[in-house]
Assembly symmetry: C2
């Protein structure tokens, strides 16, 4: 074995396991070694028990392939229930809590042969208050959030993939900051059974990988579809809409330049790239999202709010929670209706485009560990329920990763990933 | 106190408590007496601890009003998490399970001053396999399901209201069979945080009461809106669509006659009643619902399916589960798209009608306790996400209750209840 198995993608590791060059145990051991080496700096894990993942891997050593993820270790954001490991939701309210069952997404990955490797750090209840994780590329910077540990663990080669969740920009932003692939499926495609509810209208299970093909492998396991290799789209067949919407003004000029040069490069490589004009009312989507997310969150966490108030951070309690309680049903209902109109408008737009291209985040990861960055580039796509992927396409002025965000039409996830693979090839992106 | 407090509606009990004629403790004690008397026959409760509800009520005795439900006991379907009581989901898989927090709906009712009285019997994982509950009007008959115990407990005056859930017809049908009011809100209006997930695209928290006003009081507590008395609609201002759709052919002739005579009566009382023609494709809604519900359920219960298979009933495992696993993502996705089209079509129809009128169930409660009846009259409205209410309007040939179902446009829940109250008055319905 010339290459460290911990560095392998799912595709590479699966091939090595299938050909007998690697065992699930050896892969898990390599990942555990990597955790031992890097965890003191990166702090990606809320819980990581070598004994448990070693035992799970050993059981798979002697079996022939159990599924598309046979022997592949994965991390699980700590707002997702696991029966064998604590699930603490990033708050002292749930210290030591052991769920009675695995979340559906965890059970589906195990059913496909995956090895549940540990629980990754989340911000407090998947909101703003950060956990202990640092950016693997620069320990003084945030890894992004709320799926902080999942992004960092994959970036730092501790696991080939990890589950996160996104209600605003909690997968795409950390993927961009940590320099890995991040994917948020179409709303509703992956079961949220056993995932802590923040805002039911937006909450989506997503994941981080180190290549596009791996996203598709995990996706097929989670929707429980038969395996099928990802075929890159023909670049010359793609019509790409370049989005410079209201969020674009928040994107740093240096990042704007990178995205613009990528758009040009894709055009030169044969894709049709056109500017798109956002629909009327598009600029209000973020406010509707805020109203709905606050309204739903403040109600969803009523038990915590009324029984464990002093354990909630002031930021959460006086910010999103207060705002959400103040939002009336009429305002909430109106915001929902407006978003329904915007979803129909974007569906019409997407008849003309195979995908949209924009920034994943305003720039490189923020300096400091007190805040997890700005989800401004992600809110609208989450609110519109569209599938999105972040490709680690660029390095910024400080040498840190910056992602390119691709967005496709509702339930066009397969097409999105096929296009993402051809765009990655055209831009020659490497994690 | 001339009247047994256990017989009181929320409105009546609240008035008595506010005027000092009744204490929360006395109300809870009256309900517990009623449980002692009736539970051996009705078997509505999965868990009912007098000590716990007595203690909660006593704490409220000395306080002035804590909210719109001050001192009002309520039952909770046993697929809804409660921190102080077991939550067993109607299956031996979860025997004795104690959740770490209250579901949002339970915490919201407690926040409004409600007394969590106990856990009501559910069918296995809110599906087909019945629990132990009997119809309070005829012990040899089903109470309906899956919210069996909640409907029976309210009908039998053990609690003034109880929470259920509906994924197909699990609130409306038992309401009809047990002769109480049953209400399913617009999809998404009430948080499902802490409710066992069956099919995320349809699952809705609903409830049972003994009058229309009580539905509105509970609704306002659950959306956390300020209290506001329900004003009955002007009957002469209502345009009612009489639905005799594909499900109508499954309604027993005697029930058809009852509904038809009610429609006539409402017309005579001043309402405008017109037949409505279902939109093209309406007849396929039930199949789309079945595809989606099966697909989502089979994935949501992956942990149970892969770890506790032998504890699942063959009916569940070989029926809905197998069907759901066989349903492809493409079929699922197509069914979702078709339903989206139907939702837009019904929204257009509802511009012409204030509400729709049809049967709540095909007839009286089925004889026997092996099956919970047919949800055929409810599936389409659940699939369309519309709010519906069942009014206990009739007695059938065996003297057992039969409900009248009213349906309103999406998020027109307030209007639906205002109209339901005026229709109840016009038809002179009494529980």
């Amino acid at each position: 074995m010339s290459r460290d198995p911990a560095q392998m993608t799912i595709v590479e590791a699966s091939r090595a396991i299938e050909s007998g060059k690697l065992t699930p145990s050896a892969l898990t051991d390599a990942c555990l070694d990597r955790v031992e080496e890097r965890e003191p700096e990166t702090r990606a894990w809320a819980y990581c028990s070598g004994d448990q993942s070693r035992m799970a891997a050993r059981l798979l050593d002697s079996q022939s392939s159990t599924g598309a993820l046979h022997g592949i270790p994965f991390g699980v954001k700590d707002i997702i229930d696991t029966v064998e490991m604590p699930t603490e939701h990033g708050t002292p309210i749930f210290t030591g809590h052991r769920p009675v069952r695995d979340a559906a997404c965890v059970a589906l990955l195990k059913e496909a042969g995956g090895v549940c490797f540990g629980k990754t750090v989340t911000t407090e209840l998947a909101h703003f208050h950060p956990g202990k994780t640092r950016n693997p590329h620069a320990a003084t910077r945030t890894p992004g959030g709320s799926s902080s540990g999942s992004a960092a663990a994959v970036a730092d080669c501790m696991v080939p993939f990890a589950l996160g969740t996104q209600t605003t920009g909690s997968v795409l932003r950390p993927a961009s900051y940590c320099g890995v692939y991040g994917y948020k499926p179409s709303y509703g495609d992956v079961s949220r059974s056993g995932v802590f509810e923040c805002a039911a209208s937006f909450d989506t299970v997503g994941w981080f990988t180190r290549c596009v093909e791996d996203i598709e492998i995990v996706r097929r396991a989670l929707i429980r579809a038969p395996s099928k290799p990802l075929q890159p789209a023909e670049l010359s067949q793609l019509t790409i809409g370049f989005v410079r919407d209201v969020a674009w003004s928040k994107v740093e000029p240096a990042t704007q330049k990178l995205i613009e040069s990528a758009a040009k490069q894709l055009g030169l490589a044969g894709a049709s790239v056109e500017d798109i004009q956002p629909n009327a009312g598009f600029e209000d989507i973020a406010q509707h999202h805020r109203d709905i997310a606050g309204y739903e969150f403040a109600r969803a966490i009523t038990w915590e709010r009324t029984n464990r108030q002093r354990l909630l951070s002031p930021k959460l309690l006086n910010g999103r929670c207060e705002d959400g309680l103040r939002c009336s049903y009429e305002r909430y209902s109106n915001a929902q209706s407006e978003l329904a109109v915007q979803r129909m408008a974007i569906a019409k737009t997407m008849q003309k485009f195979d995908l949209l291209l924009t920034a994943s985040a305003p720039g490189e990861a923020w300096e400091g560990l007190e805040a997890t960055g700005d989800p401004v580039c992600n809110t609208a796509w989450t609110a519109l329920h569209l599938p999105t992927v972040s490709i680690p396409a660029f390095k910024g002025e400080s040498g840190l990763p910056i992602g390119l965000q691709l967005v496709a039409g509702f339930r066009q996830d397969g097409q999105l990933l096929a296009a993402a693979e051809s765009i990655r090839l055209a831009l020659d992106c490497q994690v």
